[in-house]
Symmetry: C2
């Protein structure tokens, strides 16, 4: 994904417009673009993008002429929800980045019993900004929706056990391996994965998952760090979906 600088914006519309303060600063000061340079504006909420040309620029403000908007070029091939136990802040940030690059449509932070640290209020907005920036960098035309942290039981009911969703609860002690279960599903089936904290999901949490109809599966016999599980599982989903 090389090519023109991608700039996330709140709205993509054909015609002349002035980028908002953040986007202007980003184009003018971070990337030192100049008059006449071309950029791609993208709206990650609506998965729309458009080519644009810079028609005026100073350090605080950038004016562009925007061509006809189009549907985003690169979108994930299938819907995947990651229900991820919260953990230390920098680790969860890394997980959001990985999940964005690897096509998650939604990330639901879960306050698990054994989670270390509770995210501060307003964390979801920060994670969304991280996701949008990761989408920008990797060329993805949308960004995962990110919920506020919630309890596992509620999250599983809302996002991992609806009609047509195949939910999996990852537990190193499970007998059934994830690989064959995943390979049996078609490449377009909607998926959801519950990934616990370093200390694992508690028996009550695993029970809540299986009661809601999720399959309890093991990635393998080793104890992976939570951030490794996320990238490994979502990476496998990408390769099984194309």
């Amino acid at each position: 994904m090389r090519g023109p600088l991608r700039v996330p914006v709140a709205r993509v519309e054909a015609g002349s417009s002035i980028l908002d303060e953040d986007a202007s600063r980003y184009v003018a000061r971070v990337h030192r673009k100049r008059l006449g340079d071309r950029v791609v504006l993208f709206d990650p909420d609506r998965a729309i993008e458009a080519d644009a040309e810079i028609t005026a620029i100073d350090r605080a403000s950038v004016a562009v002429v925007v061509e006809a908007p189009r549907a985003a070029t690169f979108l994930p091939a299938r819907r995947v929800t990651l229900l991820q136990a919260t953990c230390k802040s920098d680790k969860f940030d890394a997980i959001v980045r990985d999940a964005t690059e690897l096509g998650a449509s939604r990330v639901v932070p879960i306050n698990a019993e054994r989670s270390v640290g509770r995210p501060a209020d307003g964390r979801a907005a920060r994670w969304r900004r991280i996701a949008v920036e990761a989408a920008r960098q990797c060329g993805r035309g949308d960004a995962p929706a990110i919920s506020s942290p919630m309890e596992l039981v509620e999250a599983v009911q809302l996002f991992a056990s609806g009609e047509g969703v195949n939910g999996f609860c990852l537990d190193p002690a499970a007998d059934a391996p994830l690989g064959p279960a995943l390979r049996r599903l078609g490449p377009e089936v909607e998926l959801a994965f519950v990934v616990g904290p370093e200390g694992g999901l508690s028996p009550a949490e695993i029970e809540a998952c299986t009661s809601a109809g999720l399959a309890r599966v093991s990635f393998g016999p080793l104890t992976l760090r939570a951030e490794t599980v996320c990238a490994a599982v979502l990476g496998a989903v990408v390769l099984l979906s194309r």
Copy 2:
């Protein structure tokens, strides 16, 4: 992988012995073990392990009685070599950790044209220590071999194109997707992956890979960070191997 503390050692032999300085410090001071506690000694070079009991302990030295050694309980299911372009030190450390948890048998650091920063001499020894510690934590009974950084052409010839090895060169611009290519191979075939730096492999490097018989494949249309590629690809290999 919960259970007794795992301690990497240079040699596992039944009978009484005194742990070396590093292992003693690790058991006595980092993990504050006590007289009578049980540990598992493992030799990642030979993939051998044994239960042991602490029979004497002070801050500097730990004596153990070691039971009969056995083959390591958890070893990767197939041989996989990761030929990874060098990058900033903390990133490569993270890649070594991921590759260990996800079962790589060998990591070959490559000085690619667009690599940022050259690793200092002696870096391979440091990476090996990181790999052994990651193996300890995740419960793996061996650890990946880690070469000194080498040139791509040499690395590909030595490690990615021998008889019986299926080598892949990852290039976002390739038409062929990795997923189907990987799924066509049996679950026990030996694999090798060349992963370039952030700026990608150069045309000459891609040509060197394809000339050596590697398949040029794309993980997908997005530009992933190198560390994400490693975890995503190796994660998929794990799930396709079980």
